[in-house]
Point group: C2
Chain length 229, copies 2
């Protein structure tokens, strides 16, 4: 399975989220192709050669991810330049998966009726869903990263795991699939070099902890059920 | 009242809709400012001078219109460049009116649940509505022009009238307001030169006809009501 990340972010050089996600994506090696759009696109008109290259990347991918910080309720302009010129109805992207990864500066729960932003993320991202519909692609729920700057280390570790799961699986996983996926990753990673091992150790502890907490919770629930019976 | 049209259309030179709307808007003289975005914007980064100019235009307007052919379920990239860099939350656009004028190539009724496009125009344009919400602007219903190329002369005349009403009034008009508005326009226009008079004559006949048809309809309805009583 091959994942193509079309990353649109005019400030990618200063963005800590951008660095964080790019580093994370590198764990998956060749499985993931990261396209830094604003590094390549300056003008509103793409050359024919660029369009052809971008189209080949799309055709070679199983999963396509539009990744961006939200600028005025959609992706930065560079992604629109890309979409307007690279994607045509003649390009056969049928049955590929389209996902969005979006970072927002405010709270996710502002995005609902009665919240300050009034509309949900689903509503705001409708143009991408409509695009997937038109191209007969499979649209999956957005991966939203809110208030990254305020995240604690533990939350960032959790974010890496969830993000890697998104990149390396076509569709969202159930809990038991996540557990299996994670164990597989651990086995693969144990073969690699020492520096990576150290960086991973924290992550592994964290996820183990989460799984254990969940097991505790399950056991407690069972006890309550048994007592009630 | 001052109306600012931010017209985004990379193919504005070949577009017959673009020419048609621009010609129509000229009837209103200084009341309307038409900005041909793709003539001015080539790169993804606007100069400070351009940003300042664009911001002054926005601040001077009572009604702001984003006008564009739909490209992949939103405006062409040039409008996103503009929005991303010109509009900031520091720019006070409170209580101004935001309208969208959008041309689409297929039928408007494809845009609904069960239709080939699946989502409504309201859903697809949600990012602009969210922008209006954020800036405390008054968002009014979109003006959608579908299948312009297939319109007959009569439909195009009707379109001009509806479009001029949109440009010259802050909010949508009721039927009697439309009638008043139209008579006012006729009085103004009768003062102008002969070539314009000729071009208008067709339009005037057409609208008179429409009003008469409506009067007939009203009279018929009254008759049916009276007979029923």
């Amino acid at each position: 399975m091959k994942t193509l990340i079309i990353n649109a972010n005019p400030r990618y050089q200063e963005s800590s989220t951008n660095k964080f996600l790019q580093m994370a994506s590198q764990w998956l090696g060749d499985q993931v192709q990261w396209v830094q759009l604003d590094e390549q696109i300056n003008s509103l008109e793409l050359s024919d050669a660029m369009i052809t290259d971008f189209q080949h990347q799309l055709l070679a991918a199983d999963k396509i991810i539009f990744q961006f910080p939200m600028y005025w309720y959609s992706a930065p302009a560079s992604l629109k330049v890309y979409i307007d010129q690279v994607i045509t109805t003649n390009l056969n992207l049928k049955d590929k998966v389209l996902a969005t990864v979006m970072t927002i500066g405010n709270n996710l729960d502002d995005y609902q009726a009665g919240g300050s932003e009034k509309y949900s993320i689903s509503e705001i991202l409708k143009p991408y869903q409509a695009l997937a519909n038109k191209l007969q692609m499979k649209y999956i729920k957005p991966f939203v990263i809110d208030r990254f700057a305020y995240m604690e280390e533990q939350q960032k570790m959790q974010l890496i795991v969830e993000y890697l799961m998104l990149l390396s699986n076509l569709e969202p996983l159930s809990f038991s699939q996540k557990q299996q996926w994670f164990l597989k990753q651990l086995n693969n990673l144990s073969l690699k070099d020492d520096t990576k091992k150290d960086r991973l150790a924290v992550l592994i502890d964290q996820v183990d902890l989460n799984f254990n907490e969940l097991d505790d919770l399950k056991a407690n629930l069972q006890m309550i059920k048994d007592e009630g019976a």
